[in-house]
């Protein structure tokens, strides 16, 4: 916990003062919530009929669930594609071959710098004019944009994961007669993949959030459905809040899973640390540096 470094353990006087400020803080928090609630009520936004829509089965059946299904579909396709793209170009960036390395670097750096929205808008027009894709063109446009951007981020995760491995791993591989490529495939990449798992799950949150950008090209995802449903009913505000809550619940769960995975990885390592075997300690270095790097490549 970061807080611990800033403060001494408080004495009785400080504890009383903290308690007082704590009560004031809690009152402020309650005040903010009440202010929002009554502010909305005063503007006539808390009428039951505006919110009723969202507890009715028909709203969910006809609008929210089909929308959520499309959102999840785009996200899952995006996740699978990004992992494949990330592995290919991540390994490409680790290649000794100057050409493969150069091409991968340019691809990854380029797609990391281009806004996802720009790609979505481009692919939507490009696909509908030049390619005959099965199903919804907007879906493919969103998925393609998600893959190019997030795939590049995953490529960087793969690369930093391998770079953060102790040098001894590769040296040991080469010492037992593996080629550079074999040591990469059999020794380094598998370890890097485990180390990057928390950051990878964190990236899934980004993919899910970015899928909502499909709204702009009228992709039938959750946000778009919520908007079309609520516009004639005059409860856009309520619909946006409900949509946001759905996204928050899913993403919060994903973040918690990422946290758990990262905790499990580090405890696994700690146990191994007590044992004489050296295998486990490698993970400690990249479990720690991994989190540092993931913020670097965000």
């Amino acid at each position: 916990m970061s807080a611990s470094i800033l403060f001494d353990t408080p004495g009785p006087k400080a504890r009383r003062r903290i308690l007082l400020i704590n009560i004031i803080g809690a009152l402020i928090a309650v005040g903010i919530v009440a202010w929002i609630f009554f502010g909305l009520a005063a503007k006539g936004q808390m009428q039951p009929e505006q919110w009723d829509d969202f507890i009715q089965a028909s709203t969910w059946k006809n609008y929210l669930l089909p929308g959520l299904l499309n959102t999840v579909k785009a996200a899952i396709l995006g996740i699978i594609g990004s992992v494949i793209f990330g592995l290919v170009f991540g390994i490409g960036r680790l290649s000794q071959n100057k050409l493969i390395n150069g091409v991968s670097t340019v691809v990854v750096e380029f797609f990391r710098a281009v806004p996802v929205l720009l790609m979505i808008v481009f692919f939507n027009v490009f696909f509908s004019r030049s390619l005959e894709l099965p199903g919804d063109t907007a879906l493919w446009a969103v998925v393609a944009a998600l893959i190019f951007y997030n795939g590049s981020v995953v490529a960087e995760l793969v690369r930093s994961g391998v770079h953060n491995l102790p040098k001894g791993q590769r040296e040991a591989g080469i010492a037992i007669g593996l080629t550079r490529g074999m040591s990469l495939r059999y020794i380094e990449i598998p370890q890097a993949l485990v180390a990057m798992l928390p950051a990878l799950i964190g990236q899934f949150v980004v993919i899910l959030k970015d899928s909502a950008l499909g709204y702009i090209i009228s992709f039938n995802e959750l946000l778009f459905f919520a908007r079309t449903y609520s516009s004639p009913n005059g409860n856009v505000l309520q619909a946006l809040i409900v949509t946001a809550v759905i996204f928050i619940l899913i993403n919060f769960t994903l973040s918690k899973i990422a946290e758990q995975v990262s905790k499990r990885l580090s405890t696994r390592v700690k146990k191994a640390k007590n044992a004489p075997a050296v295998v486990g300690t490698t993970a400690v270095t990249f479990a720690e540096t991994g989190t540092k790097n993931d913020s670097k490549e965000q």
Binding site: L6, I23, A113, V125, L213, L237
Partner: protein, 225 residues
């Protein structure tokens, strides 16, 4: 080629990027102020302040930016009649800036907090040992090192903000680059790819120097330990 070059005279491409830079500039200031306040709440010893900061970060960080900007424009303005002054266009611009600032403040908060985490425990202990109280220790010892440690994540947040400023298209800011590009590729279907590459490279040109600058700054200002 001539066909391609004509887009520069027909459309104001640098102007479109300028709108994104302005969005970024104002949103960055807002996010930095709000994010620093949130970080202070989160590192304070008061449980309820920590809870306020943590709830804000967890709620905002997990909401798509599209919803936040849409909320500002459709719910705050459209349904509740909240305006930020100026004419019609200026109001949409400011509401989009508000949405961008609210969203990125959560990331600024986490960046600063991670900066505080880079300060070794011994620094705080030494500060207390020479008799500094909480505020002097924070001001003289902890925060200067924390900001230097937070440069890389702050720079990454700035890069994300530059790219996310295109989402202002949702907030009806029709002059920013993604909206301009959308109009262009719909009217000039013969050169869709060159138009996309023009805008994409524009962003590469803006983003990469910011990345290099952060890396350079973080190395230059790194606290030698």
């Amino acid at each position: 080629m001539e066909n391609y070059l004509s887009i520069f005279t027909e459309y104001d491409i640098p102007g479109a990027f300028w709108v994104n830079i302005q969005l970024t500039f104002w949103a960055a200031i807002g996010a930095l102020v709000l994010g620093t306040i949130l970080a202070l709440l989160r590192i304070s010893p008061v449980a309820s302040f920590q809870a306020i900061g943590a709830s804000y970060v967890n709620l905002v960080r997990n909401t798509p930016l599209t919803i936040i900007i849409l909320f500002a424009v459709l719910a705050l303005y459209g349904q509740l009649g909240f305006t930020l002054g100026g004419d019609f266009q200026a109001n949409f611009f400011r509401l989009s800036v508000l949405g961008l600032a609210v969203y990125h403040a959560a990331f600024v908060c986490e960046a600063i907090r991670s900066g505080v985490n880079t300060v070794p425990l011994g620094q705080a202990e030494a500060a207390r040992a020479i008799g500094l109280g909480f505020m002097p220790a924070a001001r003289l010892i902890i925060l200067p090192q924390a900001f230097r440690g937070a440069i890389v994540p702050l720079g990454n947040t700035l890069i994300a903000l530059i790219k996310n400023s295109t989402v202002a298209a949702v907030g009806s800011v029709a002059t920013e680059s993604s909206s301009v590009m959308k109009t262009m590729i719909e009217f000039r279907s013969d050169i869709v790819i060159p138009i996309f590459l023009t805008f994409a490279i524009g962003f590469v040109i803006i983003v990469i120097p910011v990345g290099l600058l952060t890396t350079w700054l973080s190395k230059k200002l790194a606290v030698a330990r």
